[in-house]
């Protein structure tokens, strides 16, 4: 996000009273920063559950590479992908926070500040949950 253009957009909208607080791209960043971690966890959860539940009763269980079952590989792969997504949301929230801080704003409950702060913390928690949910796989690398 371009810092100066972002703040001038806000100033303009405040002046004319138009209800578009941020440019669309900026809005996307705010929402992604807020819910990116949650979306990543949802994808990880659904995919890992499907692989564990369905894979463990199908031939997928017996497919092996480097001695590790296809089920374990599948869950590890989806974990890597979703961690990238969750960490991406975290970084975007962090970057948005820096940009907002650079605007020398005085109120801590401005909507954008609030969204990036909640986004930062939720992303960290979801990264932790994704990692925690993957830990059991390390004990079941060779069986279900």
């Amino acid at each position: 996000m371009n810092d100066s253009s972002g703040s001038s957009e806000r100033a303009d909208s405040a002046a004319v009273g138009v209800a578009t607080p941020t440019a669309p791209a900026s809005r996307f960043r705010l929402w992604f920063g807020l819910f990116g971690g949650a979306v990543a966890w949802t994808i990880h959860f659904l995919a890992a559950y499907a692989i564990a539940e369905f894979g463990c009763v199908s031939s997928f269980r017996d497919a092996r590479f480097l001695g590790i079952t296809g089920v374990a590989w599948g869950i590890l792969a989806i974990t890597a992908l979703t961690l990238v997504l969750a960490v991406g949301a975290l970084l975007i929230a962090r970057r948005s926070e820096r940009l907002l801080l650079a605007e020398t704003r005085e109120k801590e409950d401005e909507p954008e500040d609030f969204m990036v702060r909640v986004g930062l913390i939720t992303s960290v928690v979801f990264v932790a949950i994704i990692v925690a949910q993957t830990l059991p796989v390390l004990y079941y690398l060779r069986s279900c």
Binding site: R27, A52, A132, C144
Partner: protein, 839 residues
């Protein structure tokens, strides 16, 4: 305190006339305003709570001594089933819905909720559902398969007519839960007053926003599950019958996908209540961002915990440990909230009044319940205590500690606002003392009973178990607990007649509900309040988007100049004014629709199929009358000057419109229905040796493939019609619509033909049942879509010049529905016709 609204008699009279509350019978039934309906929800659910409590006392009398014969085994089964069902479905969720419907508009500075008639529909469905539940006592067929109704116990082979009362009553209550979720979600997103950005929403509002989203997914899944159960029982389908290829575990998966989030659906509002009380009496709230984070995390992760109710069912070990990890991690989110409240209270010396006492009681009890929750999340420990009184103790610590105590705190806190009278502090201390001691006496000892091996859901126990004294103490505690609630009821009754007047803000609260009179008038506020900080009654900062603009908009929704019910609709993130939203007045249509539903369902129960059809006709007719735009209302809104004066539109489209958000919620509900059915299909497929099952051959691909292509093309023609509408080309609009209708009708005809040609019965096996289920679902969805398309085409014919106003919105919502239908159709066709050849 510049927010306090002084009474202006002239303005009050004008507003009271517009926002009149119908009195007397039958006008009372046409009420749609959130405040009376919120009170009705709370009173009705509290009545069910008392009934559920009486059932508990009967069970505790039975268990007071070993080998007791006070209740028969059958009666005991019926009582614990009705107790659990009453508390979970008829008390906890509806009470909090009622509280939210009452308080949310007050807290966000709105006049009403987003869809007033839907509120009324929800209430009638809930009331009728509860009555259907308890009607089972009248016919002597009381449900007896537990509040979870596990199959095959709840199947026709083992459960009688009572289970049908249970399933159909529950279906109505689920509809109430779904519409309440939709209502709350859109209200919080769109009806916040100017200045109330996301970061200024009170924590209770945040909690209800998360709960609104959760309800759409959770209750819809349960609705699908109960529908499948009732189809198994009434129509002979085989979804849950393992002898015919079904799966009894499928029920548990679907049920607990609802059941576990339900705990959070009732717990999260409780955390919102606690946050409100802690803030008021500490004059601050530490960790607001962390509290909101905790709510969001719990809202998501609660859907990933359902298997921890199924550790004893023989699932793959990896799968169980995967869920165990999530169950442990969710404790972080709730733990953060507890620490935030403790930190807020720390050093502030809050007054030890009744709301604070119940709040402290909540923290103590819930922390204990949370700790045993972490214990049972660990698979080997759960195996040890599964189906023992340890689990009974744990769940009551979570549900009574985590929900009932905050509800009591909330009642003592907000009843002065609702009734206008203060409760008695001394009676409050007595009520709290009896409740807190009685609760712990009853349930703490159950941990020990469970560890000693006393099984739950069994009507008695042998003397040799050595648990007589434990059970006797638990029974004494249960009666103390009941006495605590009776003291509250007496206090409530006494306060209505002799309580001191509460005034506007008896506690010195920080949120907007304390600005209005107690009780608040039906219109809520004179004009829209303007919020300038997170604690609007304590501090003032600034309004995002411009002070002057917000004040002008707020001024224009005052009652005097507006002859119709209206409130401000604002931006989802910032709370800036976007439009003036018209709201409907009293109407019987909600009652007609709910009555149609209940007549149809009860008639099916009684096998009176003609009556069932009549009920369905009333319900569908009511819905059509409800949804079809009223010309006189449109005319009134178009001629109104208020929008021009405020510089805000009355007709809006896209994300600015509440209708758009309502349609998106409807699509979420339909997607969840489809998702639950797809889960059922592939779950049964996974555990079947061959697919299709039995002697059924894989379906032919030719005609379904052609039909599917026609459906996809209809989406394209609708897009073309929409583009022509924007460009103002009437001929192309009609051509596009006609093509969409033609292609959709062709698909429906093909679908009808395919259904008529199915060469097996729906009763043959689970595959056959699933096949019919999907075909009928798609047929119905396409039919509804075609009716909407036809209505849109007629209206475009009449008003194609209206390219920016109501007509555009009509096309947008129709388009959303139709495109969703096409996507659903493609998924269903791929599942039914393609997957048997591939998987």
């Amino acid at each position: 305190m510049d927010h306090i609204e002084e009474r202006d008699p002239e303005l009050h009279a004008a507003l009271a006339e517009t926002w009149y509350s119908p009195t007397g019978f039958p006008a009372w039934c046409s009420e749609v305003n959130n405040r009376p309906l919120g009170v009705r929800f709370m009173v009705t659910s509290f009545a069910f709570f008392l009934i559920g409590g009486i059932l508990t006392l009967l069970m505790r009398i039975q268990l007071m001594v070993p080998n007791n014969t006070f209740l028969s085994p059958q009666t005991f089964n019926q009582l614990f089933t009705m107790h659990g069902s009453t508390m979970m479905y008829l008390f906890a969720v509806p009470f909090l819905e009622g509280l939210a419907l009452y308080m949310l508009p007050q807290m966000i500075g709105s006049r009403d909720v987003a869809y007033p008639r839907l509120t009324a529909l929800g209430y009638w469905c809930y009331l009728f559902g509860g009555l259907v539940f308890y009607a089972s006592f009248l016919v002597g067929e009381v449900p007896d398969a537990g509040w979870f109704a596990y199959t095959p116990l709840s199947g026709r082979a083992y459960s009688g007519l009572g289970l049908d009362f249970w399933a159909l009553g529950l279906a109505l209550v689920e509809i109430a839960g779904i519409v309440a979720g939709l209502e709350i979600l859109v209200t919080v997103l769109k009806f916040r007053c100017p200045g109330m950005s996301l970061g200024r929403m009170p924590p209770f509002v945040w909690s209800m926003l998360v709960v609104g989203v959760m309800s759409l997914f959770a209750f819809t899944t349960l609705l699908v599950a109960t529908l499948l159960l009732e189809l198994d029982r009434a129509a002979g389908t085989q979804f849950f019958n393992p002898h015919r290829g079904g799966s009894s575990l499928l029920w548990q998966h679907l049920f607990w996908f609802f059941g576990h989030p339900e705990v959070y659906i009732i717990f999260l509002p409780a955390t919102g209540i606690v946050s409100a009380i802690v803030t008021t009496f500490s004059r601050r709230l530490l960790g607001y961002v962390l509290i909101v984070m905790g709510m969001i995390v719990m809202g998501f992760v609660s859907f990933g915990l359902w298997v921890h109710h199924m550790y004893a069912t023989g699932l793959p070990e990896l799968s169980m440990h995967f869920f165990a990890a999530a169950s442990l991690m969710v404790a972080i989110a709730s733990g953060v909230q507890i620490f935030a409240w403790i930190a807020t209270l720390w050093g502030r010396r809050p007054p030890l009044n009744t709301p604070i006492l119940f709040t402290i009681g909540f923290v103590v009890i819930f922390v204990l319940g949370g700790m045993t929750g972490v214990m049972v999340a660990v698979v080997p420990f759960d195996w040890q205590v599964h189906d023992t009184y340890f689990i009974v103790a744990h769940l009551h610590y979570v549900l009574i500690g985590g929900v009932v105590f905050p509800i009591m705190a909330g009642l003592y806190y907000w009843l002065p606002k609702i009734t206008g009278r203060m409760l008695n502090p001394k009676l409050g201390y007595w009520g709290f003392g009896l409740t807190f001691i009685g609760f712990n006496l009853t349930f703490f000892i159950m941990h020990v009973m469970g560890l000693f091996g006393m099984p739950r859901r069994v009507y008695t126990y042998p003397a040799e178990l050595g648990l007589e004294i434990h059970n006797q103490l638990a029974t004494v505690g249960a009666f103390m607990l009941a006495a605590g609630f009776l003291v509250f009821l007496w206090d409530f009754y006494r306060s209505l007649h002799h309580g001191e007047p509460a005034g506007r803000d008896p506690w010195g609260g920080d949120t907007l509900e304390w600005t209005t009179e107690s009780p608040p008038p039906t219109y809520g506020f004179y004009g829209a309040p303007i919020v300038r900080s997170r604690h609007p009654l304590w501090y003032a900062q600034s309004v995002p988007g411009g002070e002057e603009f917000a004040e002008r908009a707020a001024e224009e929704v005052r009652g005097g100049p507006i002859p119709f019910r209206a409130t401000l609709a604002t931006d989802v993130i910032t709370g800036k004014p976007l439009s003036i939203q018209y709201l409907p007045g009293p109407s019987y249509v909600s009652l007609y629709v709910a009555a149609g539903f209940v007549v149809a369902l009860v008639a099916i129960l009684m096998k009176l199929y003609l009556v069932a059809v009549a009920g369905a006709v009333v319900a569908v007719g009511g819905l059509i009358y409800w949804l079809y735009p009223k010309q006189e209302v449109l005319q009134m809104l178009r001629s109104s000057e208020v929008g021009r004066r405020a510089g805000l539109p009355i007709f809006t489209t896209g994300t600015r419109s509440t209708a758009w958000w309502g349609t998106v919620c409807l699509l979420i509900i339909l997607s969840t229905c489809l998702g639950a059915m797809l889960y059922a299909y592939f779950y049964i497929r996974l555990y079947s040796d061959q697919w299709p099952q039995g002697t059924i051959q894989p379906p032919d691909l030719a005609l379904p493939g052609v039909a599917c292509v026609l459906l996809v093309l209809s989406s394209g023609s609708f897009l073309w019609a929409g583009r022509s509408f924007r460009r103002g080309n009437p001929t192309a609009i009609q051509a596009g619509f006609s093509a969409t209708l033609l292609l959709g009708t062709a698909f429906l005809a093909a679908q009808t033909y395919l259904i008529s040609q199915i060469g097996f019965s729906h009763q043959e096996n689970a595959y056959a049942s699933l096949f019919y289920l999907f075909m009928c679902y798609l047929w119905l969805q396409v039919l509804v879509g075609l009716v909407l398309l036809a209505a849109a085409q007629i209206r475009v014919w009449q008003e194609h010049q209206d390219r920016e106003g109501f007509m555009k919105l009509h096309l947008q919502v129709t388009g959303l529905y139709w495109h969703f239908t096409v996507i659903a159709g493609v998924i269903v066709c791929a599942t039914l016709y393609l997957s048997p050849h591939v998987l």
